[in-house]
């Protein structure tokens, strides 16, 4: 009998504790796996340097994070969504439908996207967007005609590139990085090779031609990587001819295995990215639910700590890890201090 009593009381205690614990005292963050490293650095420092508990940062991708962010307001929803792209109209609408109306957008800095191959592999040292498009695009321009991508080696369209099999490992569609790759490399390459013009001349509307430009070949020469950069690195490790797409920070942490190629003649580095010379970069964001400020302790402080000059500035730990500091950081700091939300005019 006493066992029954004991287990009943244990269950009761567990139930009570489950309900009391709903009063959350730590900041809950989720989203982009590109922002995750930076967010984890800040979260650890925030816990070490303030009296607030260390925030929880989950990964899962920009879209998944924003989806959870937009599930509603309340302690069982996340407070901050990390994103490696700006929030979309559609997502703002979905947020509003669930009562998440006041969203603060915080830009934390820039991330460079680099093309790298095996350190000891063939000499992939310089790319133009056109090269990448010719190698990985679904339809390319050959002899004045738009055809399904016929190329099997890099030298077929650019004799300066190594005469080896094309193998590109690109981020999967759930990654924010994919969008940057499409817009800043494929589209530019499509225009540069004249394929886009030819498509429009062939009777496509401009939108259709743009979509066709962004399509990636599906014959196995371009491989979508849905996991992290570690997976891309593993694929490059086993394939000397492979070209992979990495974040600058990831590449800088693995320079002993990877060699990077220039894009349009510019080598990627924090300097060339912050000046805008290196073409393939994108801003990184996090989004704060204003309704949670004052409810979840430490939320505003976390946002302020994250964007403080000593953290996100050019000599802070984030820049040291590979984030390209935002020259307009002061503006962001003001916006957080005043809790400026998106679409409130400023």
């Amino acid at each position: 009998m006493s066992f029954v009593k004991l287990s009943a009381s244990a269950l009761a205690i567990a139930a009570v504790s489950a309900t009391t614990a709903a009063a959350r005292d730590n900041v809950q963050v989720a989203g982009s796996s590109t922002v995750l490293p930076y967010a984890s650095i800040v979260a650890e420092l925030f816990g070490e340097n303030t009296d607030f508990p260390t925030p929880v940062v989950e990964s899962g991708g920009s879209s998944a994070g924003l989806k959870r962010f937009c599930e509603g307001v309340g302690e069982n929803t996340i407070d901050i969504a990390n994103a490696s792209r700006a929030i979309r109209e559609k997502e703002i609408k979905a947020c509003a439908e669930n009562g998440v109306t006041d969203i603060m957008e915080v830009r934390i800095g820039y991330d460079g996207i680099v093309f790298a191959s095996q350190q000891t592999g063939p000499a992939f040292t310089a790319f133009e967007p056109a090269d990448i498009f010719n190698a990985l695009g679904a339809k390319v321009l050959k002899d004045g005609e738009v055809v399904d991508n016929p190329y099997t080696t890099w030298a077929e369209f650019n004799p300066e590139l190594p005469d080896v099999e094309i193998a590109g490992f690109i981020p999967g569609t759930k990654h924010g990085t994919r969008e940057v790759f499409e817009e800043k490399v494929l589209l530019i390459g499509c225009e540069a090779t004249g394929a886009m013009e030819a498509m429009i001349a062939g009777g496509m509307s401009e939108d259709d031609a743009e979509d066709a430009c962004l399509a990636v070949r599906t014959d196995g020469k371009a491989v979508d990587i849905d996991g992290d950069y570690t997976e891309t690195l593993a694929r490059i490790d086993t394939n000397p001819n492979g070209i992979g797409i990495f974040g600058l920070a990831f590449y800088e942490n693995n320079t002993d295995k990877l060699k990077v190629a220039t894009m349009s003649g510019i080598a990627p580095s924090t300097e060339t990215i912050s000046t805008g010379e290196y073409p393939v970069s994108r801003p990184l964001f996090f989004y704060v639910k204003k309704a949670h400020i004052g409810v979840i302790p430490g939320l505003k402080e976390y946002a302020q700590f994250f964007t403080h000059d000593e953290i996100a500035g050019a000599s802070g730990p984030l820049a040291n890890y590979g984030l390209v500091a935002d020259p307009e950081l002061a503006k962001t700091q003001d916006a957080i201090a005043n809790e400026v939300t998106m679409g409130s005019g400023s």
């Binding site: 567990a14 340097n49 929880v56 989950e58 069982n76 992290d228 950069y229 000593e310 890890y321």
Partner: protein, 443 residues
């Protein structure tokens, strides 16, 4: 042997001699020999892969249990502490104080290598937190020299472990070739040395720029609380369900349906339980995210079928004569089950439960969806009850997280984590085997 050849219709007449094997016997004997050889090859292949697996896990994971430390005396005055505490980035201030003091000390010692404070900074890991925590806990030590063992940076650690060599090192803001001369000099002076990596076993997860500070301890605790939930729920539910199904339930279509479904559930991919957990426990029941309670509930769903199936098997293994005898002397059905059948089946039930728990302990997929991957295992829970609800990770999820990080130091930690996880699994399986050996009765 000859019996069989006599009976076979082809060999109508008897063989010449019993001592000389005929062709057919030889053929059968050879077939048996070949089959044995196949068996040995199969086992050898299995063993080979096991050895390769263990060798690679051990060779990659053992270094995680060693760390490189900078071991020096450090004195912090109360004034310095107050100044550091007044800044925003306090840990950085502590770290700067340490670097300045070490740099001065090395100059006084007249170390033969040129260096500057930036070089020392590159050699050190994230040390500010360790120093700040120490003085917060021991304010009485202010002003006295304290011997600190502080983590060296990931690359210096790699240099000691052979991951980084002078030939492959490329100058970067993380480490420069000239720094290695300083490392060698400090090693000579006994300032930088290797030590057993206690923080790896007892510590919590760290930021991606701090592999030296990452430990698996917090996620072991997370796993522990999840296993408590799994044990507390799946054992009573599983045993009650199997006793009812096996001993009391009528045999009809409905119970058949339940049986089929239990077998089906056992084969459902674990990620499905993760999706279910997200939808039911977090989105519908509003249980806290990333909590071991939710992880435990999800793993309970996954473990239940395993426990039910093994419990029913061990109940079935109890001979009916035991039940008949009990009923025969006037015991009620329930008395027969609880006084006689269940105790005899207990070793089998326990074995099944432990194996089910071991399976749940190593499961990652369902945890991906309920928020246990990322930077989650940040510290120990505040108390026993908080352990169920405070965000925490689990061992396999922590290993997965580390394996995806850019710094090679974390990759090593992931392998080290695998060793610890395997030790837990091995222990549980050994307990299961001992229980079975000691208590199981065969009829």
């Amino acid at each position: 042997m000859t019996d069989a050849s006599m009976q076979s219709p082809e060999t109508g007449h008897r063989s010449v001699s019993l001592t000389v094997a005929d062709a057919h016997t030889k053929k059968r004997a050879n077939a048996e020999k070949r089959f044995r050889a196949y068996g040995i090859v199969a086992i050898a292949t299995g063993l080979f892969f096991l050895i390769v697996l263990f060798a690679s896990i051990l060779s990659q994971g053992i270094p995680a249990f060693q760390r490189t430390v900078v071991s020096v005396d450090f004195t912090l005055s109360a004034a310095q502490r107050d100044e550091a505490e007044s800044t925003l980035f306090k840990t950085k201030a502590y770290s700067n104080l340490f670097i300045a003091q070490l740099s001065k000390e090395l100059e006084d010692q007249g170390i033969s290598v040129d260096f500057d404070e930036a070089a020392i900074e590159r050699l050190l890991g994230k040390i500010g937190g360790t120093i700040r925590t120490y003085y917060a806990d021991n304010p009485g030590k202010l002003g006295d020299p304290v011997k600190f063992d502080l983590a060296a940076s990931s690359r210096v650690d790699g240099y000691f472990k052979g991951r980084v060599s002078r030939d492959t090192l490329q100058d970067s803001r993380f480490l420069q070739l000239s720094d290695l001369d300083l490392v060698d000099a400090l090693k000579q002076a006994g300032i930088i040395k290797q030590a057993f990596n206690w923080p790896f076993i007892t510590g919590a997860d760290s930021g991606v720029d701090n592999p030296g500070g990452a430990g698996i301890g917090a996620s072991v605790i997370g796993s522990f609380f999840m296993m408590l939930v799994v044990l507390g729920l799946s054992l009573p539910i599983g045993v009650a369900a199997s006793i009812y199904l096996e001993e009391f339930a009528p045999q009809n279509r409905f119970t058949d349906l339940i049986e089929v479904n239990i077998s089906n559930l056992a084969a459902v991919p674990s990620i499905v339980f993760g999706i279910l957990g997200l939808a039911v426990f977090i989105q519908f029941m509003h249980l806290p995210q990333s909590a071991p309670l939710v992880g435990g509930l999800v793993l309970t769903l996954m473990t239940l079928p395993t426990i039910i199936i093994s419990t029913r098997a061990s109940l079935k293994a109890v001979p009916p004569s035991i039940r008949d005898a009990a009923l025969g002397v006037g015991a009620s059905k329930m008395q027969a089950v609880f006084h006689h059948v269940l105790p005899l089946a207990a070793p089998g039930i326990l074995t099944g439960t432990i194996i089910g728990l071991a399976q749940a302990l190593g499961e990652t997929a369902p945890l991906l969806l309920i928020g246990m991957v990322g930077f989650v295992a940040r510290g120990y829970p505040d108390g026993f009850l908080a352990g169920f609800t405070e965000p925490n990770s689990a061992m396999p999820a922590q290993i997965y997280t580390w394996a995806a990080r850019a710094d090679v130091g974390f990759y090593e930690k992931a392998w080290g984590g695998i060793i610890i996880l395997l030790m837990f699994l091995l222990t549980m399986n050994i307990i299961a085997i001992i229980l079975r050996r000691r208590f199981e009765r065969r009829w």
